[in-house]
Amino acid sequence: MEELANLFHGFAVALQPFNIMVMILGIVLGVIIGVLPGLGGANGVAILLPLTFSMPPTSAIIMLSCIYWGALFGGAITSILFNIPGEPWSVATTFDGYPMAQQGKAGEALTAAFTSSFVGALFAVVMITLVAPLVASFALKFGPAEKFAVYFLAFCSFVGLSKEPPFKTIAAMMIGFALAAVGLDSITGQLRLTFGITELLNGFDFLIAVIGLFGIGEILLTMEEGLSFRGGNAQINLRVVLQTWKEMPAYWLTSLRSCLIGCWMGITPAGATPASFMSYGIAKRVSKRGKNFGNGEIEGVVAPETAAHAAGTAALLPMLSLGVPGSPTAAVLLGGLLIWGLQPGPMLFVEQKEFVWGLIASMYLGNLAGLLVVLTCVPIFAAILRIPFSIIAPLILVLCAIGAYSVHSSTFDVVLMLVFGVLGYLFKKCGYPLAPLVLAIVLGDKAEEAFRQSLLGSQGSLAVFFSNGLVSTIMVLGLIALFWSAIQEGYGRLRTSAV
């Protein structure tokens, strides 16, 4: 039990008064960053990184990782209140979180989101504590073919469950793929679909698309529907937290499943975004209340939030043990480690025990501190919805514009955001689902890259996707998910014909 002794030593390090102060400061900054759409954890951490250079490395990483936790918590707030996901992995939270807020249950939705985030992160931290070395070597098994299989599974588990007509889902997804293809083709090094417009070199950034599609699109819709925010009658006292907590244990199975999905996706490292989508998709498929998902079902908030946080936390493990960041924020943290003279990699756990276990202990404490901070603020957040729409709408618009601008410091992106806003409005008016479009923009180019890398390596043979146990299993799971409804129907018919 050497790990446990190390961990307690880590707690002693993290509980020094200076480190506790740094922790709370980090959480508060992180929540602010998470609330501002577009700013995001990675940018926030990058901006605040220099602040930490004068601190000892352990305090510095505690502060940065607390900013990260804060941003993870904060991302859910705007998703639920305004349908604007602050982070890619909060997109799935909007599906049920926003309808809940509209029904006056913003407090419940926020509490559920924060609590599940905490549960997911805690689960992942426990996993890191217990099985870190083992898990790290699992991540090494993931080459391009395995990565593609994971993306394939994420797409399939999402397509198979859509309530919308399949052709509308596929149409939306294909538009997403087309948008994802714009910019530099990373395999050939050639520019694609940019038509000589230099602003398009970078392709369509996911964040710009999401801020426009969801945020601006929602404002346009609300304006049309008569300038009123529904959900102003939300309960705004702390009792709502306790009431929601009473309900939560009923969803333990969803939580556990989402934790596992999240950890797995975080380590592989496919990241928090596919984790949240996949977890939402599977919960919708297997839950008893699955039919009501999308209309404000609390379980639909629990599933993606738990998985996103488990993945976000687990993503730190490959960074520490292999030096491969599992998420953009982890990449910035990695840069920080190097500046403090710490070399992430297989030797970090051996040579820098105090640092590693201090960080892991701070994950426990930082998450706990984060949960307390955001839960006490639930009434304040929920009360935002009482502000008249005519006041809040321009504010959201400004916030969206700042968010879009800050992604690449480019005014072109603000225009692009407005265009995406109109597209989002049209999609909703015509009954096309936005989620497959967004999923394709986020994961489309990554999936394409992994697919082409695999085929380069296999000299063009598709057999590479079934070349070992791991990749075949994931591919078969994907195919099952894709044809699930057909399988279920066939099974149902067999049973009725047997009776």
Partner: protein, 332 residues
């Protein structure tokens, strides 16, 4: 104990530098944007953020230095941004080889001559790596195996038609061996793909692969430079950077070093250039910078002014030739 000593030393240096009055006639009057034409976490980004940290810690500038990543179009986004900021002295950019390769491969309207050269900070080395589980102990062993496998052995590298692939093609030309080149997004990812045996070799920069080398997961075969690296601190298993032979001594006559240099926006005045040259001279003197150079086994050449411009010009010609031979030039 060791760390507290180092902190004390750093503080001393900070005081010493801080007490020297500024001599440059021009100084930034608002925050300076430090553009990185590559993604977060890569080699250029790490260097830029280290510089930002050093500048902040030692108070080398009165205005903040803000690192901004503009990685779109293999860095084209960043270069075009600086190109279009003529006469704005509050914008500098750190470059890597994509300064040459991106305009050549994609045909975007940009050349380094559009920018104002400031200083060469260092040169980054390239090393041929294989997985430590594999039996190859010299470059010759490995290249023989590549020849025998007739094109099925995989070389992983960063980006397409950029430095890693240029070196790969140069190796093919020099030896007649054939690789399957697989492009990845970043150097760290490439290193891990090698550890996981998903590729057979890489030409990672030292800083990208050092962690895996220390962990005994990868083995360096040779360095693409005309002399061995100068760092003699032991990394793993009794070996130091110095002990890696040059590729030339192994019968593979290829040299390739990558520029880590600073440019600023067009139409900068001499005062403004001097300010940044002085700034980077101070950065180079800090212990943090020297530690960083050691970790990444950088070649610490420093150049400014006409020398630097001439060096860049020669390098551009060389890249044009290399890329033309490899068939990587944009078709238009």
């Amino acid at each position: 104990m060791k760390r507290s000593l180092r902190v004390a030393f750093a503080a001393g240096v900070a005081l010493a530098i801080g007490s020297i009055p500024a001599v440059a006639a021009w100084e930034p009057v608002r925050p300076v944007e430090f553009i990185v034409p590559a993604g977060t976490g890569g080699g250029a980004d790490q260097m830029a953020r280290t510089i930002q940290g050093i500048v902040t810690k030692h108070n080398l500038m009165k205005q903040p230095l803000v690192v901004i990543n503009k990685s779109g179009g293999a860095g084209g986004e960043g270069f075009l941004d600086v190109k279009s900021s003529a006469g704005n002295p509050h914008k500098i950019i750190i470059t890597l080889s994509n300064l040459f390769t991106t305009p050549l491969a994609t045909g975007i309207p940009f050349s380094w001559k559009d920018l104002t050269p400031v200083a060469m900070l260092a040169l980054d080395e390239f090393v041929l790596w294989v997985n430590a589980e594999k039996p190859y102990t010299s470059a010759k062993d490995y290249l023989d195996a590549v020849k025998q496998a007739s094109g099925t052995l995989k070389m992983g590298g960063t980006g397409s038609k950029q430095e890693d692939q240029i070196i790969t093609v140069a190796m093919e030309k020099a030896t007649g061996a054939k690789f399957t080149y697989i492009p990845y997004k970043g150097g760290g990812e490439v290193a891990v793909q090698l550890v996981g045996n998903h590729v057979d070799s890489t030409v990672n920069n030292p800083i990208e692969a050092v962690a895996q080398w220390r962990g005994g997961k990868v083995r360096p075969l040779c360095v693409f430079d005309d002399k061995p690296m100068s760092y003699d601190e032991q990394i793993t298993d009794g070996k130091a950077w110095k002990d890696i032979p040059t590729c030339k001594s192994q019968g593979l006559d290829i040299e390739y070093l990558m520029l880590r240099g600073i440019f600023m926006s067009p139409r900068a005045t001499k005062d403004q250039i001097d300010y940044y040259v002085e700034l980077f001279k101070k950065v180079r003197e800090t212990p943090e910078w020297q530690d960083f150079m050691k970790t990444g086994a950088f070649n610490t050449s420093f150049m400014t002014g006409a020398d630097y411009a001439k060096w860049v010009e020669t390098e551009e010609k060389r890249h044009e030739l290399l890329m033309k031979e490899a068939g990587f030039l944009a078709s238009n």
